[in-house]
Structure formats: structure tokens, C-alpha cells
Symmetry: C2
Subunit: 142 residues, 2 copies
């Protein structure tokens, strides 16, 4: 019996369908890569990585897969300035800290019990459906 790392699901652990989206081979592989690569890869990063397993896949298909996964709430699309979009399988509500010296992107969670309306002067009647928090800066060497 082989022990499996739950972070990296094997082929057969990715279901045929997720929240109404047919999980084709291409979508499975794209999704798998996002589960493994937690460093917010771009569409092109995913493309290069997925070619190992699906040598005939096209970049357009990677874009299609990513879009389908985003649309079905299976992954998140993250934008930093005008750079290429990045993709993220962490569905917890979180922001991103972009370390400008290393280029590394860290996920940043909310402290428990925080309510946006306590922090921001929202326009009256605002119903927030989606939040995007991006921080840029450096990490002090200890």
C-alpha cells in the first residue's frame, strides 16, 4: 500500500466532475499542477509544466482550462499590476504579499474575527462579492 500526500492528489483522486465542470484530461492536469505549485504560476508556467504529461497541449487550451476552473470557483486568478495573471488553488479568502526583493508571493490570511465593514468606509448599501488585497514590500532580514 502506497502512502499518498494529500496535498498532491493522484490522478484517480481528481473527480470526473467538479462543481458542474467536466474534468477532462487537460483540466485535470492543469488543476493538478496548481495544487502542487503553490507559487502562483502564470498560464505560461502551467503550460510549460503540463507539457511533460500532455505534450500536445496548446497554450490556448491552458488558457481555456484555467478560465473554466476560475469560472467554476475551483481556482482563483490573481493579478499583480499589469503582469501576466497568476493562478492559485488556495480558496481560503486571502490576500497576497509580493516581496519585491525576491519576487516571491506570500499568501496573507485575515486575522480571525475581522469584518471588512469594520475596517473600510464602504459606500452605503455596498454588497461586497469579491475582495482583492495586494501588498508590496520587503521582508526584513532577522
Amino acid at each position: 500500500m502506497v502512502t499518498q500526500n494529500p496535498e498532491f492528489p493522484a490522478e484517480n483522486e481528481i473527480p470526473e466532475e467538479i462543481s458542474g465542470l467536466r474534468m477532462t484530461r487537460q483540466r485535470q492536469e492543469v488543476y493538478r499542477i496548481l495544487m502542487q505549485e503553490r507559487n502562483h504560476p502564470t498560464a505560461n508556467d502551467v503550460f510549460m509544466r503540463v507539457k511533460d504529461r500532455l505534450p500536445n497541449i496548446s497554450l490556448a487550451t491552458v488558457y481555456n482550462c484555467l478560465e473554466a476552473l476560475v469560472q467554476h470557483g475551483i481556482i482563483r486568478q490573481v493579478n499583480f499590476e499589469r503582469e501576466s495573471s497568476r493562478y492559485c488553488s488556495n480558496l481560503q479568502e486571502h490576500g497576497h504579499f509580493h516581496d519585491q526583493t525576491t519576487g516571491v508571493i506570500h499568501d496573507v490570511g485575515f486575522k480571525p474575527g475581522i469584518n471588512l465593514a469594520d475596517v473600510l468606509e464602504l459606500p452605503p448599501g455596498a454588497l461586497v462579492e469579491d475582495i482583492e488585497i495586494t501588498l508590496r514590500g520587503k521582508i526584513a532580514v532577522s
Copy 2:
């Protein structure tokens, strides 16, 4: 004596130089438009608007001016998803609420006394230099 609306500075009120940036005619006009149009125009919006006063200006120059103004901290560049960048003369620290029904972008200030570190689980040693908060949603009709 003519009374002036302080929100809309007249030509002679825009100085020759702002924080080390030579305020050329083109930069002045671009800046003036951003002071007037508080609805976060794109580079192209600014371009079309500025042509009234400077018919020979080119889009490249508008981009150059906007970049120079951003670099000198005179205006802010704001990105929504992968849409065209928008520009903003509100230098107060603030986020944006994007009303998805009307398309209107509302500035969203922080409530007084709020400290980011109280709200987010920042990585240890993080020195935040810049914050970007974007909210998307609807405004309930009262």
C-alpha cells in the same frame, strides 16, 4: 476678481515643477484632467479629453506623462483585473469598490485608527510599502 473652485486648479495654479518633475504643458494638462475627472479614467480616456486643449498630443505622450506623474507620486495608477490601467489623483490611502451593475468605481477610505497588521496575518518581518485593495460587488437600492 474671479472666484476659483479649488478642486479645479487654473493653469497658473499648477506649478512649473512638482516634487522634482518638470511640469511641461502636456503634463499639466494630463494632471488637470485627473484632478477634474474623479472617475478613474484610462490612458485613452485622458487622451481623448486632452486633445481638446492639445490637439497634437499623442497617446504615447499621454502614457509618458501618466508614468512620470505616477513615478513622482503625484497621481496613482489603479488596476482592475486585466482591464486598462486607470489613474487617480486621490493620494489619500484608499481602496476601490467596483460597482458591477453601473461600472462606477468608488474610492473607499480606511476607518480611522486601523492598522493593517491588526487585520492581516502578514509574513514575519514584512515591511509593507504599498497596499492595493479592490472590492467588487453591487450597491443595494434603498
